[in-house]
């Protein structure tokens, strides 16, 4: 595209920009070696019958075509399907709720912080605290906070405030999905808050003053000024939120059985499911096939999101 406009040949252009290529070379090499090469192998693996018996042969393991995909997607009797539906369902719920939750909580707190008051930067720093706690510690810590008998949540809700008539079990049954969503939101919202706050500070005051003169309510001011002006920020936040939360691993693995146990049918995510299939059931081939399918879904989602963004950008 660009080349047709430019009169110079490709080689001349490359020569002209050789400085840029020098600068890019080490990264490109690293990416070829440690991204492209393993990912190609990973995709190829998904077509192999790779389990604990054939792992020694690795890429020379018997080629089975789409059998792994058949096992994951269609074959109702394959052991790999056990728990797969639950993992997909949980991942969808988890990703959407966590992404929206971090954005929502971050937005509310950013709005509260976006005023002039004494000790503002100190409060903001304190709000950033959960974000510094490593995710494996988050999983560990909340695993204890959710304990049935002695956990902080049950003690507070049942013993002190008497909101709950009994102490529910958070780490088993359908409650589990909340037991993993809430810590994740707790861990990640400060980053959203920080970025949204920075975005808010670039919105010119004149816009709000004009709205005030027109007698707009705060609610209307938010949706007509703040939200659209923050578009570049929440676009990125939702994009990376979707990607990273789909691939969430540490919190769940540390909260349930510390890597050895099964998080339960309401706590299992795609990543823990694939990890268990690959490293505990030794089904590397089907594990790779599931990963590839996940990757395809992710590419579709990201593309849809970009397209939506471009479209709405043009409409503005």
């Amino acid at each position: 595209m660009a080349m047709s406009v430019n009169k110079k040949g490709l080689w001349a252009k490359i020569k002209q920009y050789r400085f840029a290529y020098y600068f890019l070379a080490p990264t490109a090499l690293a990416m070829l070696l440690l991204h492209l090469s393993p990912i190609t192998q990973g995709i190829y693996m998904s077509f192999l019958k790779l389990n604990q018996f054939t792992l020694q042969q690795y890429l020379l393991a018997p080629f089975v075509g789409f059998e792994n995909y058949y096992k994951v997607l269609i074959d109702p009797g394959s052991p790999i399907r056990i728990g797969l539906f639950e993992a997909v369902r949980n991942t969808v719920i988890y990703t959407i709720v966590v992404t929206v939750g971090t954005l929502g909580v971050g937005m509310i707190v950013a709005l509260m912080l976006n005023r002039k008051f004494f000790g503002r930067s100190l409060v903001r720093t304190f709000f950033l605290f959960p974000w510094i706690v490593p995710t494996y510690v988050t999983g560990l810590l909340w695993g204890i906070i959710w304990l049935k008998q002695g956990g902080l949540v049950n003690v507070m809700l049942a013993d002190w405030l008497h909101i709950l008539p009994f102490k529910p079990s958070w780490l088993s049954g359908p409650n589990t999905i909340w037991a993993i969503i809430i810590p994740t939101v707790w861990r990640y919202w400060p980053l959203s808050m920080l970025m949204l706050l920075a975005g808010m500070q670039t919105i010119p005051d004149e816009l709000y003053e004009a709205a005030d003169i027109d007698g707009a309510s705060p609610w209307r001011k938010f949706w007509m000024i703040t939200w659209p002006m923050l578009r570049p920020v929440w676009f990125i936040l939702i994009l990376f939120g979707l990607i990273y939360n789909t691939y969430s691993f540490n919190i769940v693995i540390m909260m349930f059985g510390f890597g050895a146990g099964y998080p339960g049918e309401w706590g299992d995510l795609m990543m823990t499911n694939i990890f268990r299939n690959s490293f505990q059931l030794w089904n590397f081939g089907t594990g790779a096939a599931t990963s590839v399918l996940l990757l395809i879904v992710m590419i579709v989602i990201v593309n849809v999101w970009f397209r939506y963004f471009k479209k709405s950008e043009e409409l503005r």
């Binding site: 660009a2 600068f23 990912i39 990973g42 509260m112 709000f127 494996y136 970025m195 990543m271």
Partner: protein, 480 residues
């Protein structure tokens, strides 16, 4: 409606501030809970006892002396009470656990699990000498010792403790004031009644009676509930009772020591620092160069590269895991250079993994630097590299610091790759904690201590560089 504008604004401001502070409290609560729990007893965490436990004030000994009573309690409390009305005259607490006493005319010997042996003057309770018990290192977990025993025979004191199968007895020479030897006693317990305090019931006494003393027609009783009773033997009724002063709070700093002993935390910390530090350095070098090239030049392949960067973020990390593992093993087989389980291997992988995202952030910073500056420098005769080195790099420092710290934090957080690609010598903190926690599933106290220690380094780092992080990350965000 009739309120003036500024009053409404003021009220809403206050309401928002209150809500905000309440939310801040809720946000920090889990972290506070983590630190607080790390100082508690494991069973207290499990049963949901919120307050810290206090030392029990069971009365162990009552000795009448010239119309007063010497009352000794299990928390190391040495008290003097007036016998007539049970008024407290003197009180000194030695804050000991599993205490046991021997009373002599001039001295009180107090032996304890946590603080060793005390020799306390009966004239002045504040006057004491302390002797540490001669344990071998790591032989006994002192906070698990439930009871201690002490006996005086001739000039020697014999000390023993109730702990698992430990049945050594210490001999302490009370005249030379030093531990003479340890008596190994085979399978036989030295004190046959060890572990059982001989208590008894008494009508009207709350708890078991451990100590009795008779004086001037009165019976004095000390109970396990920490109460002192005065019983009139002629009228057969209780005439007075008095509660002991409350025991000290049991803050278990020992959890950290125990955790440190059980986990090779020093090694993990060193590994994590080395791996994350080098990852940060390499990744920042690569990404600074690449981001500069991408933000300054529209060269053929720039778009492809940008898309490749975003694409790497979409790949589930687990897809890399097996290929990289096998690549490492094969590389070692071919070249003889060990990669799996070495610093080199994991640093390489981390650097490659965190570079794309760093490029993504840093590109915005370089794009924000005015091109005119660089053009002017080029006209003045700077080479391309000099322009990068002396102008662009200097101006992008805040962004580079912020991105570097972000990389460091992400690497600090990484569990899956470290789990598979490190070995016992190069294990990082997340892997170490996972292993430790798997082995000590019921020791919630030690888990929380480990969690606090794992969080501490990043908190320190964050506080040192807080300004840069906030400024850098927010600047990047605004530019998109």
């Amino acid at each position: 409606m009739s309120l003036p504008y500024y009053v409404k604004k003021r009220v809403s401001d206050i309401v928002i501030s209150v809500v905000m502070l309440a939310f801040l409290f809720l946000t920090l609560l889990p972290i506070g809970w983590m630190i607080y729990s790390s100082l508690k007893d494991s069973t207290d965490i499990a049963i949901g006892k919120i307050g810290l436990r206090r030392a029990g004030t069971d009365i162990l000994e009552i000795v009448p002396q010239n119309g007063d009573l010497l009352v000794l309690t299990a928390d190391g409390g040495v008290n003097l009470y007036r016998a007539a009305d049970l008024k407290r005259l003197e009180h000194q607490s030695y804050k000991t656990a599993a205490s046991a006493y021997v009373i002599e005319p001039d001295y009180i010997w107090l032996v304890s699990a946590n603080n060793g042996l005390f020799c306390i003057s009966r004239g002045d309770f504040k006057d004491y000498k302390r002797f540490a018990l001669p344990f071998k290192d790591g032989e006994v977990e002192l906070n698990k010792v439930t009871t201690m025993f002490i006996k005086k025979a001739g000039r020697n004191l014999y000390l023993a403790l109730d702990y698992k199968n430990y049945n050594n007895v210490f001999r302490f020479d009370a005249e030379e004031l030093k531990f003479m030897q340890t008596i190994r006693n085979g399978k036989k317990k030295y004190f046959p009644n060890a572990g059982i305090l001989q208590g008894g019931e008494f009508p009207g006494v709350d708890g078991e009676v451990f100590a009795r003393a008779r004086s001037n027609g009165y019976l004095f009783l000390g109970s396990s509930s920490g109460k002192l009773y005065k019983y009139d033997l002629t009228k057969n009724k209780m005439v007075a009772e008095e509660r002991m002063p409350r025991g000290h709070l049991l803050v278990r700093w020992r959890n950290y020591l125990d955790m440190w002993k059980n986990v090779n935390f020093g090694l993990y910390l060193k590994n994590s620092l080395i791996i994350c530090g080098f990852t940060m350095l390499i990744s920042m070098t690569l990404s600074t160069m690449a981001a500069y090239a991408l933000s300054r030049f529209r060269f053929p392949g720039a778009d492809l590269f940008s898309n490749a960067i975003l694409a790497t973020q979409m790949i589930p990390a687990i897809m890399y895991l097996i290929p990289l593992y096998i690549m490492f093993v094969k590389f070692t087989l071919m070249s003889g250079i060990p990669v799996k389980g070495t610093y080199l291997g994991i640093i390489l992988i981390y650097s490659a993994f965190f570079t794309p995202f760093s490029i993504w952030i840093l590109r915005g910073f370089f794009a924000a630097i005015p091109k005119e500056l660089e053009e002017a420098a080029l006209i003045d005769g700077c080479s391309r590299f000099q322009v990068f080195w002396y102008i662009a790099l200097r101006l992008a420092v805040p962004g580079i610091i912020a991105t570097g710290i972000y990389t460091f934090l992400t690497a600090w957080d990484e569990l899956m790759f470290a789990w598979v690609l490190t070995n016992a010598d190069t294990m990082t903190i997340p892997v170490g904690i996972r292993l430790f926690v798997g082995n000590y599933q019921n020791r919630f106290d030690l888990m929380m201590a480990a969690a606090v220690v794992a969080t501490l380094p990043v908190v320190v780092l964050f506080f040192m560089l807080q300004r840069h992080i906030v400024r850098g990350l927010t600047a990047g965000a605004v530019k998109g």
